[in-house]
């Protein structure tokens, strides 16, 4: 048992020092009825080689995204992550460190979280950001509860083009926390009028941009409508790379931005761990959930960083806390901040331009296939097509070739069987596009 340093002799010596006759004696407070004398029905310990073999066999039963032409988005995006990112986050001093409770020996973590907060504020066009939440969907739910606190109202409006999983996470919380959510029906046509739904009881409107179907839109009129009624505008971003090309939510009047940061620095990981981004205006900072790092000075006047404003948090306020959150996504924020530092202004805008141009190219090629219609006239790197047959069957047929074609909207709701959402990133090659177009043409023939 290679992870356990005590020898039998150590254990004997230690028991003697404690004055206990046996290890069992140390468990004497456990009621007799619950003490297990025998082992559990689980396999015995294995060496590194055996574990590696067993898990590799399981991994081999999956189709890795990078091994096939791949066009799936829908809230998780396959981007290239530079080798330096994974190398740096695996440094033991980062990987095996905990929450920075002792600032004198955690300045490394605190400084990168401060840099992360700054990067997220800049990207989203907001004043301040926290040091991350679990993921984009939970960040959205936190945004709604924060809007309720800020406005003292308990009804929020969710756009029909918000990611359906995000909507479900907000709805779960609403049911148990006790606030009202008006979720609009799925909106592939982009025809909903959210401004008309805002009234004096509305705490916030939650709208995604680019939206679940890939559309990009100007949110300024909606922001004005919200503010005129005393409601907040919550803008959700699932593809954070888009902000390298688009007007930021902050410039369009958002009060809170909830986003998924996975696209920068973090792999697909089958859905997690991801990194929830959360940013807001200065005036709401004390209502913001999650961890915050602030700048200060040490006893000698030198600049340094600490966790701050923790009076909002559970360990001080207990049942009056802003949220029950305790963990952030430290390592994922580190990956995010390293990757974004490598990109910089020039790299991020270039990356966004590549994503956009490649998506435009594929949209044009798909639109040329008889029977296929591209639904959106605006998008960043993701768009929706209408197919002449149910999309789910086509996706399964293409997966057998193997091409991972996109996400059928029917996966989330009935009634839109012919819609397919496709994403294109810098990882997609011309050959990948050729393969998709050919396969789709053949399957529609």
């Amino acid at each position: 048992m290679r992870y356990l340093p005590l020898t039998e002799a150590d254990r004997r010596d230690m028991l003697a020092a404690i004055g206990a006759p046996s290890v069992d004696a140390l468990f004497r407070d456990v009621p007799e009825v619950a003490r297990r004398k025998d082992g559990l029905d689980l396999p015995p310990h294995q060496g590194e080689l055996e574990v590696e073999r067993a898990l590799s066999a399981m991994a081999a039963k999956n189709v890795a995204a990078g091994s096939v032409p791949f066009f799936l988005g829908g809230g998780a995006y396959r981007h290239h992550v530079p080798a330096a990112v994974d190398h740096l986050i695996q440094r033991g001093e980062f990987l095996t460190s905990y929450t920075p409770y002792q600032p004198e020996v955690t300045q490394g973590t605190l400084q990168y979280l401060f840099e992360f907060q700054t990067q997220v504020a800049l990207l989203t066009g907001m004043d301040v950001a926290n040091a991350s939440l679990y993921d984009g969907a939970t960040a959205t739910a936190e945004a709604v509860t924060m809007a309720n606190r800020v406005t003292g109202r308990r009804r929020s409006v969710l756009s029909g083009s918000l990611h359906p999983h995000y909507r479900e996470v907000v709805e779960t919380l609403a049911r148990f926390v006790g606030f009202r959510v008006d979720s609009q029906p799925l909106d592939p046509a982009g025809s909903e009028d959210l401004a008309a739904l805002v009234d004096g009881e509305t705490s916030c409107v939650v709208v995604q941009n680019p939206d679940f179907f890939g559309r990009v839109r100007d949110l300024r009129p909606l922001a004005e409508a919200c503010h005129a009624k005393g409601a907040l505008l919550v803008v959700v971003v699932t593809e954070i790379v888009s902000l390298g090309a688009l007007t930021s939510p902050g410039e369009m009047g958002a009060d809170i931005v909830a986003a998924e940061g996975q696209s920068i620095g973090n792999g697909l990981n089958f859905g997690g761990p991801y990194v929830g981004l959360f940013a807001t205006r200065d005036r709401f900072v004390r209502q913001m959930p999650g961890r915050l790092v602030g700048q200060t000075v040490d006893a000698e006047g030198r600049r340094g960083w600490v966790l701050t404003l923790s009076t909002r948090e559970q360990h001080i306020r207990r049942e009056k806390a802003t949220s029950n959150i305790c963990t952030n996504s430290g390592l994922c924020t580190l990956a995010f901040t390293i990757h974004l530092s490598l990109l910089g202004e020039a790299g991020l805008t270039q990356l966004a331009a590549i994503n956009h141009a490649k998506a435009a190219k594929l949209a044009d090629r798909l639109a040329a296939i008889p029977g296929v219609t591209v639904l959106n006239d605006t998008f960043f790197n993701e768009f929706t097509v209408r197919l002449p047959r149910p999309a789910a069957g086509i996706v399964d047929a293409l997966a057998a070739r193997p091409i991972i074609a996109g996400v059928p909207v029917s996966r989330f709701a009935s009634g839109h069987d012919d819609l397919l959402v496709l994403a294109v990133t810098e990882t997609v090659t011309d050959a990948d596009m050729d393969a998709l177009v050919t396969a789709l043409e053949e399957s529609l023939r």
């Binding site: 456990v30 440094r91 840099e115 950001a129 007007t247 859905g271 000698e300 701050t308 963990t327 997966a399």
Partner: protein, 521 residues
């Protein structure tokens, strides 16, 4: 001023208190923010030119600059390497942070999580292409169910506190299903702060249960509060005083007799894994912090992962998604439907399926230890904690009589009349090369010092730690001790930081110097 003196002056404010020219001290190097070392047009990636295509941004192209700094790859690598060197970590030394459980993080787990067949999978891929991933989730569920004796598990919660939320939601759903609208949740004084916050977030009134003189829940006080208005009790076991709740079976019986549910905060499961099954104690629902018991890294505070095990009575309310096994292999159920028995679900708690990367790491750890090794994990964790308690019990003051479980709790009586505070003592430990223990928690004892060595510390490392703590404790009795301790830490990249100033006027991001200037005027 020349370019080279400008470059140097950037460090000089930081160098106050050192006698070096640069502010650096050997391997301890002052490192500016990335925003202070970038240059326009520089980048750490080489990207091709985008293909020619018409813009579809609908007139919403970004106009102004974002403001991100430009750094080359070597600058970025050096920056984060230098930052890493300002961190204490379990890889570099004993990290006895009680209730947080900092144990060795095996690198095999990292390698396994990075296999393309796990790390490079999209959560919405067709199910035929993710059979191995679903098998892994099923395997992990099997281990967790076997270790806890519980029939069901929900994998999706993203952290321990998220697991609490999941558990309390299932309890409320179960009560609602039987038309029983209970209003209160009982939480012991010693509970993690997340417990009352979770209960309150779910719309419950929180009532505190006092601890008895033995550091356990006061059973009589509990019984006095139990009635038909109580939805659940949230109890940590082993508790945050490092003690096993010896009357837990009686507590469970009383709770069930009142028609309430028994939620257990499983943060300290590492003390009993393989030796005690929570189901045998009468627990209905418990979250398990994979990073604590099963050693997934919690770098800088996360990610976590908090699967929740559920009794039969709560299983129908588990959150989506569910992994089910059928004739065609594994299937992920993502919508509530009667056919797969998910109609009662509380719904979705997280964007996708849970912290898959953490699942792989945890399963790798479980398989490496096996059923036999996990039992040894609990025994060694308990043995190490009791060894600390025995080694320090005559110089520090143990709050309660032992044996303790995986962590040893001391209070600050040994500092009485010395002028040295618990915080001072902790900062002095830093200068000795140790991360301090958890301080001022649990709240039930004054000036708490909660130490958790974990099972991955050797006897030698504990002996050295005990010797150092004993010497420090003795030093508190020497003349001038208060001043000496108050000055600590002396040898860290930063001395004590002004947390009050940080909270009073929060500076939560970097701003360009000109902007800072304007704001000040």
């Amino acid at each position: 001023m020349s370019d080279w003196s400008k470059a140097l002056s950037r460090f000089q404010a930081a160098g106050a208190g050192t006698d070096t020219t640069s502010g650096n001290r050997g391997l301890q190097i002052e490192e500016p923010l990335i925003f202070e070392q970038g240059a326009e047009g520089r980048t750490g990636v080489d990207l091709p030119a985008p293909p020619a295509a018409a813009d579809r941004l609908g007139g919403l192209a970004r106009k102004g600059a974002i403001g991100l700094p430009g750094l080359s790859e070597p600058q970025v690598v050096r920056h984060y390497t230098r930052l890493s060197q300002k961190n204490f970590a379990i890889d570099s030394g004993l990290y006895p942070l009680g209730s947080c459980t900092m144990k060795h993080n095996p690198r095999l787990n990292e390698r396994m999580a990075r296999l393309p067949g796990f790390g490079d999978l999209h959560p919405l891929q067709p199910q035929a292409t993710i059979q191995g991933a679903l098998e892994l989730m099923d395997q992990l569920a099997h281990w967790l169910k076997t270790l806890t004796g519980m029939p069901a598990v929900a994998l999706s919660p993203a952290a321990g506190a998220h697991g609490e939320l999941c558990g309390i939601m299932t309890i409320r759903a179960a009560l609602e299903a039987r038309g029983d609208m209970r209003q209160r949740i009982l939480v012991p004084e010693s509970a993690h702060g997340t417990n009352p916050a979770t209960a309150a977030a779910c719309g419950y009134a929180v009532e505190s249960i006092p601890a008895n003189a033995r550091g356990r829940v006061d059973l009589e006080a509990l019984k006095a509060k139990l009635d038909s208005g109580v939805a659940a009790i949230m109890l940590t076991n082993p508790n945050t005083c490092g003690l096993f709740e010896s009357e837990i079976v009686e507590i469970a019986e009383a709770v069930h007799k009142a028609g309430a549910f028994f939620y257990c905060d499983g943060a300290n499961f590492n003390a009993i894994v393989g030796r005690v099954r929570p189901a045998d104690l009468g627990i209905d629902c418990m979250h398990i912090n994979l990073h604590k018991t099963f050693s997934t890294p919690h770098g800088g505070g996360g990610p976590g992962s908090g699967p929740v095990v559920l009794a039969e009575s709560l299983a129908p309310y588990a959150p989506l998604p569910w992994v089910v096994h059928g004739p065609d292999g594994f299937r992920l159920v993502e919508e509530a439907d009667a056919a797969s028995g998910t109609a009662g679900t509380i719904g979705r708690l997280k964007g996708f399926h849970g912290q898959m990367g953490m699942f792989v790491r945890a399963l790798a750890y479980m398989m490496s230890h096996g059923g036999d090794g996990l039992r040894q994990v609990a025994e060694d964790a308990v043995l190490n904690a009791n060894y600390l308690m025995a080694g320090l019990g005559d110089v520090l003051t143990a709050s309660f009589e032992g044996p303790c479980m995986h962590e040893a709790l001391f209070d600050d009586r040994f500092l009485k009349d010395t002028g040295v505070t618990t915080l001072d003592f902790a900062k002095a430990m830093i200068d000795e090369g140790y991360h301090p223990m958890t301080m001022y928690f649990p709240l039930v004892v004054h000036g708490a010092l909660l130490m958790e060595p974990t099972e991955t510390e050797s006897k030698d490392s504990l002996d050295q730690f005990i010797a150092v703590i004993r010497a420090l404790a003795e030093r508190t009795r020497q003349p001038g001790a208060a001043e000496w301790f108050h000055e600590a830490p002396r040898y860290t990249p930063r001395r004590r930081l002004d947390e009050t100033a940080a909270a009073r006027k929060p500076q939560l991001r970097w701003r360009p110097p000109a902007v800072t200037q304007q704001a000040a005027e």
